[in-house]
């Protein structure tokens, strides 16, 4: 396949940045999207140009490191996947592809397509944990049976990979889906109930401080989430928050 790529280039956080055109050939349908960028970068390096910076690591859809806004969609045109799982068979010979970073005030650009998502970490520092000592003296794991239904729902919430696609695809750059997934995971488990009140209050406060926008129930986040995190989590978080606020 021969493609035209329009890629956001930005030297560093202070640079203004702009879209730059690249032509590329010899792309196979079996390549992943990131492998296609590897081919481009290899050409750029051998020419002595600065390769396009983009984040990635596991390349199998689980670390949450890859990002990219492709043709106006977080993680590109396919559903239920991350960018590293997107394959070139989703494109056609001669296509023009727009590649941009995940844009949000709380995700400043570091370089080109790489953004800083450490605001997610800071929200977690505020309460994304259960306060238990790592001493090895905890009670036997089977002492507290947990209904399979609850355990499964906690697991579903816990599958969030912290990629930020929800933020990038939300018109308000809201982080509600991400934060609610974390809040829900713990709220659904007996171990997490004990601190549920402070947790939801602290995490929501940290989220607001980081400059994420409000949730207006548009649902774009759920559509673009590679792990199918459900809006129900937002509803659960809102209930938790309300209950905590009146306590």
């Amino acid at each position: 396949m021969n493609l035209t790529l329009k890629i956001w280039r930005q030297k560093n956080a202070k640079d203004k940045g702009q879209m730059v055109d690249y032509k590329i050939g010899g792309i196979e349908p079996d390549m992943s999207f990131l492998e296609m960028l590897d081919v481009l970068n290899n050409e750029l390096v051998e020419k002595g140009d600065d390769p396009v910076a983009f984040d990635h690591d596991c390349r199998e859809g689980i670390c949450g490191m890859c990002s990219l806004f492709i043709n106006g969609e977080a993680h590109g045109p396919d559903r239920g996947i991350t960018t590293c799982q997107l394959h070139m068979r989703k494109f056609k010979d001669g296509d023009t592809i727009y590649i941009e970073p995940f844009r949000a005030k709380a995700f400043p650009v570091i370089k080109d397509l790489v953004v800083d998502r450490s605001s997610f970490d800071r929200i977690q520092h505020a309460g994304g944990f259960i306060s238990v000592n790592t001493s090895g003296n905890t009670q036997d794991a089977n002492n507290i049976p947990i209904k399979k239904h609850d355990a499964d729902r906690a697991f579903d919430a816990a599958t969030c990979i912290g990629c930020g696609a929800c933020v990038a695809s939300c018109k308000n750059s809201s982080a509600m889906l991400f934060v609610s997934a974390k809040v829900s995971q713990f709220a659904l488990l007996p171990q997490g109930r004990v601190e549920a009140t402070e947790r939801v209050l602290n995490m929501v406060e940290a989220m607001d401080q980081e400059g994420f926008g409000n949730c207006t129930n548009t649902g774009a986040c759920e559509v673009e989430c590679p792990k199918g995190i459900s809006l129900e989590n937002i509803a659960r978080m809102n209930r938790e928050y309300l209950a905590a606020s009146v306590k």
């Binding site: 079996d30 450490s118 001493s135 090895g136 947990i146 599958t159």
Partner: protein, 666 residues
């Protein structure tokens, strides 16, 4: 220097308890004056950072990703072992200990493995208390499954995302300490050298990957937990950034490197499709619980499949060779990974491979779907002769167990694994070798510790499934916090370690001159160009089967490639900024040294054991042939300026509690 493994005296079952009862403790007020650097925040480093911070030390933790939550441990799919015997199927600490030593082909240290089996029980309790959502049964209790190489059900799991959930557990424990200010987290930082002062590890040199700044960090002890080095093969199941740099730099400063050639090749990966490929994707081994592995019996069928003239589903049952079930009737599809991998290679080499390149075998779920479907039909009083119904019911069960893996396969290969068997092939997965450590997890550099996949200690020559996660968390949560405390108890009056010393200066200059060289080199090839070449040499001559001639050639070829790299590599951009090419170049430079030592180690080990298969040493049936008489030792290499000149030190392995027998899975 003679190797002292510091194994405590006494009966194996009480060594660890006795040890803990007799070490020196540090009072909390003094812990506040002690700094510990932890490099790497995967399961091993993350759990260590959280625990040491909780005990009261000042922890500085480093990782190259933008967040600890993305460490490569997150990719582990299958599960984690623990000797809980919740299933009542005869498991025990002794049995886990025994099977781990045997599975490692008697090339691991008894005392370490026993300790691992002992603390495995606590790991599960700890993780559940932290809110890790491990799989449960309808009764509300934890569920287990079995994994390759064992006959009990002792593997705890969270669908196909066990690593992610365990890592998020350790990460949340870290978050609690970061929030309290007890851990200072350095994301997007890469350790490029370790600093030794008066024979003790006292700090590191790190590069801030965002700004390119070179930083000095001091501490009373340095812990390296930077994972495995499988990426020396270029193609592997590891994350793209996984590297040997920190471990290798420690090696160059005096830490012995043990058993570098022990590599685990995982049998169930998605096969290579072409030269563009950047990594290989693992399909969890748990699939072998239900999937059956086969190739066609007839060469002409295999040929027709490769040419696209025949489909897997068109091959009659009688014309399929379920070669694992045939060769290893008692373990069948659940033989250990080295055995399953070699058997797949053997069939493909003989011409029975089923994809275009002839390097793939089938992993088939048709009979599992049928079996589960009928069971469900019976449970719900439905018609078990209704094929469509049975298929739908069975598919649901399989989907529940492995859904995300099937989806992952579908996304990559573009074929529906529910209706056509998956294609799989072995790939480089895990490195059992690593930095040599004693019982305390200390390297041959005083005050420098090494945990998790980066060390060599617990897995011998063939790590069994679900044991790496166990080791990472055991080391970090439950072992290091004791052993390092004993060491640090001597440091309570030392005070802050200054970074304004000649040792820091020298290490910093060392890093700078390497970076300068790479940046100013007027070469013409990208870093990947060299990395891919190295990978080819490694896979072809130091891969699943090795022989003396190939290994000797590999050593020369790697040395020549290294020379070419320094002459011809081209790194664009600037050193003082975010520069991913430079990051890669620094990592590949170290792989180019490690690769040679790796081949040298494989050459000297004139036997076959676990993940190390020397063609010269096999039985008539093509099984690995160990030489306990001459090779019951850990090969620990001392750096001497060039990997080829490394000096061998032997730590002999003594089995007092286990009788060494030939592994047989027949």
């Amino acid at each position: 220097m003679a190797l002292d493994n510091k194994i405590p005296q006494g009966p194996i079952a009480s060594k660890w308890t006795d040890y803990k009862n007799h070490i020196n403790l540090i009072n909390p007020a003094n812990k506040r004056n002690i700094d510990v650097i932890i490099v790497g925040t995967g399961l091993a480093g993350g759990s260590a950072a959280a625990t040491l911070a909780e005990l009261g030390y000042n922890v500085k933790a480093f990782c190259y990703q933008d967040s600890p939550r993305r460490a490569h441990s997150i990719a582990a799919q299958g599960g984690i072992n623990a000797a809980k015997n919740y299933q009542g199927d005869g498991d025990s600490i002794y049995r886990l200990f025994y099977e781990t030593v045997k599975g490692g082909d008697y090339r691991s240290r008894e005392a370490n493995v026993h300790r691992l089996a002992e603390v495995s029980v606590n790991i599960i309790d700890q993780c559940v208390a932290q809110g890790v959502p491990l799989a449960r049964e309808y009764g509300g209790l934890l569920d287990n499954r079995s994994f390759g190489g064992t006959q009990v059900s002792r593997t705890f799991y969270a669908k196909g995302q066990t690593g992610q959930q365990l890592l998020l557990g350790a990460y949340s424990a870290m978050n609690r300490q970061i929030g309290r200010g007890k851990i200072k987290m350095y994301n997007r930082h890469e350790m490029l050298d370790v600093v030794i002062v008066n024979g003790k590890a006292r700090g590191i040199i790190a590069r801030n990957l965002v700004t390119g700044e070179i930083e000095r960090h001091s501490a009373h002890a340095v812990v390296i937990a930077t994972g495995g080095y499988g990426n020396v093969f270029f193609l592997s199941t590891n994350a793209m950034g996984s590297n040997v740099t920190a471990a290798w730099k420690a090696h160059k400063r005096g830490a012995y490197f043990a058993n570098p050639c022990y590599t685990q090749i995982h049998p169930t990966c998605i096969p290579v499709t072409g030269d563009h490929q950047s990594k290989l994707t693992l399909m969890s081994e748990s699939l072998r619980n239900d999937g059956r592995i086969w190739v066609p019996k007839k060469l002409e069928d295999a040929q027709a499949i490769r040419e696209g003239k025949l489909k897997a589903t068109q091959i009659a049952e009688a014309d399929r060779d379920y070669y694992l079930e045939r060769r290893y009737p008692s373990f069948g599809n659940l033989v250990p990974r080295d055995v399953a991998s070699r058997a797949a290679k053997e069939r493909c080499d003989a011409g029975f491979g089923v994809n275009a390149t002839g390097e793939a075998v089938y992993l088939d779920f048709a009979s599992a779907i049928d079996r589960y479907g009928k069971e469900q039909a019976r449970i719900h009083h439905l018609d078990e002769n209704d094929a469509k119904l049975v298929y739908d019911l069975g598919k649901k069960v399989v989907e529940n167990k492995y859904g995300n893996l099937f989806q992952m396969y579908y996304k990559i290969v573009d074929e529906d694994p529910y209706t056509t068997p998956m294609m799989i092939y072995p790939a480089v997965h895990y490195t059992m070798g690593g930095v040599w450590v004693d019982y305390n997890l200390m390297t041959t550099i005083e005050g420098c510790y090494c945990l998790g996949e980066a060390n060599f200690s617990d897995h011998g020559a063939n790590r069994l499934g679900a044991s790496a996660l166990m080791q990472g968390l055991a080391d970090g949560y439950f072992v290091l916090p004791y052993t390092i405390g004993d060491y640090l108890s001597k440091d309570i009056r030392t005070g802050k370690i200054s970074t304004d010393t000649p040792e820091f200066e020298e290490a910093e200059n060392n890093v700078r001159s390497m970076i300068d060289h790479l940046m100013n080199n007027k070469g013409e090839h990208s870093v990947d160009y060299f990395h891919k070449k190295l990978g080819k040499i490694m896979w072809n001559k130091v891969g699943m089967a090795r022989n003396a001639q190939g290994l000797t050639e590999a050593m020369d070829e790697i040395a020549a490639l290294r020379e070419d790299f320094y002459k011809n590599v081209k790194v664009s951009g600037k050193a003082e900024s975010f520069n991913q090419e430079l990051e890669k170049a620094l990592r590949v430079a170290d792989f180019l040294e490690l690769g040679e030592l790796f081949a040298k180690d494989a050459l000297h080990r004139e036997e076959s054991c676990g993940g190390h298969f020397r063609e010269e040493h096999q039985t008539e049936e093509g099984e690995a042939k160990r030489d306990d008489e001459n090779f019951s030792y850990v090969a620990a290499w001392e750096y001497k300026g060039n990997p080829r000149e490394a000096i061998l030190h032997k730590e002999s392995l003594v089995y007092e509690n286990i009788k060494m027998v030939t592994r047989s899975y027949k």
